[in-house]
């Protein structure tokens, strides 16, 4: 019995740190609607700064003072980030802020190594909480007891802050209805800044408090960020109580789950999230989001098919791209193939995201399933390449059909999180089911048949498929189905009132996007000759999001450019420098600030401006990127 009590208390202690970080994320999202990907980075900086301070300052006062000062210092960094970066992009399309915070995260991961060195740092134990307390023969670390108390205390303080102060009232009002607060004449800028500061403070505090139990290292952010998102979503976005309950739920399930299924912890949180979202689409304590009032500034430039001149130009560009093997070496061709494959991947997500308004955070699942589909067929069934390429993507299609059915029942961030959960579940299966998938070591030897093996032949295949896929999806945008899909994105109320079953339209789009991603994955398996769980991983899903956002989410085919620019830059940077994350992150942040509508979105705006006001000099400025009139 004592054992179960102690296991329960241990779970509560884990819940406390999770809650601190999650509550900060929840508050920030609730008010600013920013999906703050950098929240884990702030948590990590909190731990690093606290490490430095607690090593320098001696005694109990030095330790606890160091923890608190670190949290305040990082909150200050948060304020600077909010004012310098995020303020500029609140009006950018939804999720664009995600791109900015993603860029920041990349930068921070390299920066902490530059500042604090590459080694794992192990900090001091907390003065007064070094040992354990005996509980009927079981040991409970006294620091755990401290955390168990701290969780509800922080919850209480936040509750008082929200219920008893004017600031808190404003925050709650803004969480429910942002427009209303703006209408009340509240200085929205400072409300947002202060909310961001409080959220970052909580994250940094959560990180700083890990010092006595964890090692401080440069991958801490990734270790926590996904789990924190999950907790926030299970609890219900913007709900502090929800974050607390969800943190306890997840931690306790984990603490007891490992007693029965020791291997479960890797997917447990995602299973819980998927189950919660299917039963309660807004999380345990969340409320249905007020029907999104479309932000003004959303494309007033209706999409149109290419004119015949533009078609010729596109064809010409394709022909030029097809001549690459005449003068480029094998490496350039292989890179070209890889870029073409990522074009396929990006346009498939773009179709779902831009046309359907459904931002998937787990799109790599279908890319990876396509790749695994090919690997299974080629290695186990020994089928020839052409057959594998045709059938492999069907695995992506089936995955999308099953997961998509559940996912399209939700919308917005909840949709994003459910897709993430499904992707993680698929990833975990690939990662752990070693006897079938080879686990982490993947499936090797999936090389193309001899007719496709030479880099130039493979490049032509990849380029051809990429062109076909791009054209096909573009045609679909302007097909009756595409119109219906855009209609569901713009107004669910109206689509229902004109006889459209929106969920079925969205489901179909999901399956189309998933199958297309699977085609990309199938080619990728042959390009690399092997398949790994990475091909289904979160970082690949994030890559796809970044490519779409970079290209411009409001455009018809911006993802093509986004994929080319991002992938080419990525490959080049990884080849040139060990600090590729720092440079790439900096580039993304820059793009976000300079091109808030994405690269293609910006080009279109320039072209538009040039059309309306065309002083002789202006054309030169707009010319370099070669717009396609």
């Amino acid at each position: 019995m004592a054992f179960y009590v102690v296991q329960f208390l241990t779970g509560l202690a884990s819940a406390a740190s999770l809650f601190l970080v999650a509550s900060g994320l929840s508050i920030i999202f609730g008010v600013t609607r920013i999906v703050n990907f950098a929240h884990g980075a702030f948590y990590m900086i909190g731990a690093y700064v606290a490490f430095t301070l607690t090593e320098r300052l001696s005694g109990a006062f030095g330790f606890w003072g160091g923890i608190v000062v670190a949290a305040f210092a990082v909150a200050l960094i948060g304020v600077i980030v909010e004012m310098v970066l995020l303020r500029r992009i609140y009006h950018a399309p939804e999720l664009f802020q995600l791109l900015a915070t993603f860029g920041l995260t990349l930068m921070v991961e390299d920066l902490v190594v530059l500042i604090w060195g590459p080694d794992d740092l192990v900090g001091r134990r907390a003065p007064g909480f070094r040992g354990a307390i005996d509980f009927f023969g079981q040991n409970i670390p006294s620091y755990d007891l401290f955390l168990i108390v701290l969780g509800p205390v922080v919850l209480g303080i936040l509750w008082l802050l929200f219920q008893r102060t004017r600031w808190g009232v404003l925050v709650r009002a803004a969480t429910q209805d942002r427009d209303m607060v703006a209408a009340l004449g509240v200085n929205q800028k400072w409300l947002f800044t202060s909310v961001f500061a409080v959220g970052v403070f909580l994250a940094a505090l959560g990180g700083a408090l890990q010092i006595p139990r964890d090692a401080v290292h440069h991958a801490m952010d990734l270790r926590i960020i996904v789990e924190v998102f999950v907790v926030v979503v299970i609890g219900g976005l913007g709900s502090i109580i929800g974050a607390f309950v969800a943190a306890v739920l997840v931690s306790e399930l984990n603490a007891f789950g490992i007693l029965i299924f020791p291997k479960i912890s890797i997917i447990l949180v995602f299973l819980v999230m998927a189950a919660v979202l299917i039963v309660r689409p807004w999380g345990l304590f969340g409320k249905p989001e007020a029907p999104a009032r479309k932000t003004p500034g959303l494309t007033v430039n209706p999409w149109r098919p290419l004119t015949s001149n533009e078609r010729l130009a596109a064809l010409a560009a394709l022909v030029i791209a097809a001549t690459l093997p005449l003068f480029a070496g094998n490496y350039a061709l292989t890179v070209g193939s890889e870029i073409a494959i990522f074009v396929i991947f990006a346009v498939s997500l773009h179709f779902l995201m831009s046309v359907g308004g459904l931002a998937s955070f787990g799109h790599a699942a279908y890319f990876g399933l396509g790749a695994y589909g090919v690997a299974f067929l080629a290695k186990m069934a020994g089928l020839p390449m052409i057959v594998c390429l045709l059938l492999g993507p069907l695995l992506g299609c089936m995955g999308a059909a099953v997961f998509g059915f559940f996912a399209v029942q939700l919308s917005g961030v909840y949709f994003a999180m459910l897709t993430l959960a499904f992707a993680q579940i698929v990833w975990s299966i690939a990662f752990q089911w070693v006897s079938v998938t080879g686990g982490d070591n993947g499936i090797l030897g999936v090389w193309p048949s001899s007719w496709a093996a030479s880099p130039s032949h493979f490049y032509w295949i990849a380029l051809g498929v990429a062109a076909l896929v791009t054209i096909a999806l573009r045609a679909m945008v302007f097909s009756p189905f595409g119109y219906a899909l855009r209609a569901t994105r713009d107004s669910l109320l109206r689509t229902e009132a004109i006889g459209i079953n929106a969920k079925r339209i969205q489901w179909t789009a999901f399956v189309i996007a998933g199958t297309t991603a699977g085609i990309g994955g199938a080619l990728f398996a042959y390009l690399k000759g092997s398949v790994f769980p990475d091909n289904l991983g979160i970082s690949l899903s994030v890559d796809a999001l970044v490519m779409v956002l970079l290209g411009g989410v409001e455009t018809v085919s911006g993802a093509v450019i986004g994929a080319i620019v991002y992938k080419a830059l990525n490959i080049w940077l990884v080849s040139q420098t060990d600090l590729s994350k720092l440079v790439l992150g900096g580039f993304i942040v820059l793009i976000v600030v300079v091109f808030p509508k994405g690269i293609v979105g910006m080009l279109e705006m320039l072209a538009q401006r040039r059309k309306s006001t065309s002083p002789p000099g202006a054309t030169l400025l707009a010319k370099p990127m070669g717009s396609a009139e």
């Binding site: 040991n139 270790r223 990662f431």
Partner: protein, 400 residues
């Protein structure tokens, strides 16, 4: 469309980039790939090691009179990126061979690439047995003692313990799973009386140490096998110390004696764990002294195991190239098979049968000394003594 214009532009840029790098004809180039940005704690000492080797080789006149150049690439910890890098090294840089890699899956990916493109590959650090056995191929050699070898070394010591009730804690992925499987198999062969009472499989990098420690303690084992490492190990040790998990229990632990993993533990270092590792401070052989002196003189830092691996990888590559007198992969393979050479750990040989080097490891016990973790009672175990019989290896390895 614009898309394609930029596409072509990017291709041109890559092409131009490739040309700018073209090296002098008389140099011999080796391509090197590792997870520098993902695992700097391990790859920085590794890089220092191979840089020292390059310096020494060129100071001694290079390889058959030609200067040795190592072109190094980061793989970001992703197999797919490692292959892109391998491709660049082979296609654009024209390297004579590939070396490096740390993570098992990346080692396998590059090995498969080498096999497909018929390029010589000397895997430096990946531990998985598959590199030389089940997924082994003609073009791939490996330096570091494999998972199986480390397990066999540990089993030798562990089987002498009186403990009968064993629990295991391992990260839940291929490495952890196969480490536990090999250890259990070899252990049960020597000690049929052993019972396995609990196993914990925390996710790699995300251990929730409190509940894991608590669950292991509840099974009340007499001994524990640990396979976790890095930050997971730190958390496990801290929780285990606080909750008294290790009190009165034997612990056998993979790799924990390597400075990379032991040093961060500082005063938390648990005493008396049986570990494999690298006690650089207590190795008293002329070969190692020479290496240690050169390393400390150049970097004013002590070496980690990665330093040894990096150093010896390039030394081995140079020896193979020198013996082959050619960069032809087939000749390199012929030269490497059965080649013996000196190393800071004494003479090693690349076995013909499975292309595994006989580099060994130190087995000893952890201890706390002046607030730092050290290995004591360390003994060097030669790799050759911990490999299965040739007949078994034949069965494990696909025919070339």
């Amino acid at each position: 469309m614009r898309a394609r214009n930029i596409f072509v532009g990017a291709a041109f840029a890559l092409l131009a980039g490739g040309m700018a790098h073209s090296a002098l004809a008389q140099d011999i180039k080796i391509g090197e790939i590792n997870s520098y940005s993902l695992l700097p704690a391990f790859t920085e000492p590794y890089r220092k090691g191979w840089q020292l080797a390059v310096e020494e080789i060129n100071a001694a006149g290079g390889i058959n009179g030609k200067k040795l150049v190592v072109v190094s690439k980061d793989d970001g910890g992703k197999p797919a990126d490692a292959q892109t890098a391998a491709n660049e090294l082979v296609s654009s840089e024209g390297v004579a061979m590939l070396t490096g890699t740390f993570l098992s899956n990346i080692g396998l990916a590059v090995s498969d690439f080498a096999n497909q493109k018929k390029v010589f590959f000397l895997a430096a650090e990946p531990l998985t047995d598959a590199v030389t056995w089940s997924k082994g191929n003609k073009y791939t050699f490996r330096l570091r003692p494999s998972n199986y070898m480390q397990a066999a070394m540990l089993v030798e010591a562990a089987s002498k313990l009186p403990a009968k009730r064993w629990a295991t804690i391992a990260p839940n992925y291929e490495y952890g799973q196969s480490a536990v499987a090999v250890f259990k198999k070899l252990m049960s062969e020597k000690r049929p009386d052993i019972q396995w009472v609990d196993e914990q499989w925390p996710p790699q990098g995300k251990i929730d140490a409190g509940p894991v420690v608590q669950a292991v303690a509840a099974a009340n084992p007499e001994a524990i096998l640990n396979v976790t490492f890095g930050a997971d190990l730190v958390k496990l040790v801290r929780e285990g110390n606080t909750r008294g998990l290790f009190k009165g229990r034997e612990v056998v632990s993979f790799l924990t004696g390597e400075p990379e993993y032991l040093d961060p533990l500082k005063e938390e270092t648990p005493a008396g764990w049986i570990v494999t590792g690298y006690p650089w401070y207590s190795i008293k052989t002329p070969e190692h002294d020479a290496f240690l002196k050169a390393y400390q003189a150049k970097y004013n830092d002590y070496p980690r195991l990665g330093s040894i691996v990096g150093y010896q990888t390039i030394k081995a590559a140079a020896a193979i190239l020198a013996k082959a007198g050619s960069t032809d992969p087939e000749k390199l393979i012929a030269a490497a098979e059965g080649l013996s050479m000196p190393s800071p750990f004494g003479e090693i040989t690349f076995r013909k049968i499975d292309h595994q080097s006989t580099l060994g490891a130190f087995v000893g016990k952890t201890a706390l000394k002046d607030g730092k973790g050290v290995m004591v009672e360390s003994v060097y175990r030669k790799g050759a003594d911990y490999l299965p019989s040739d007949a078994e290896v034949e069965k494990l390895r696909p025919k070339d």
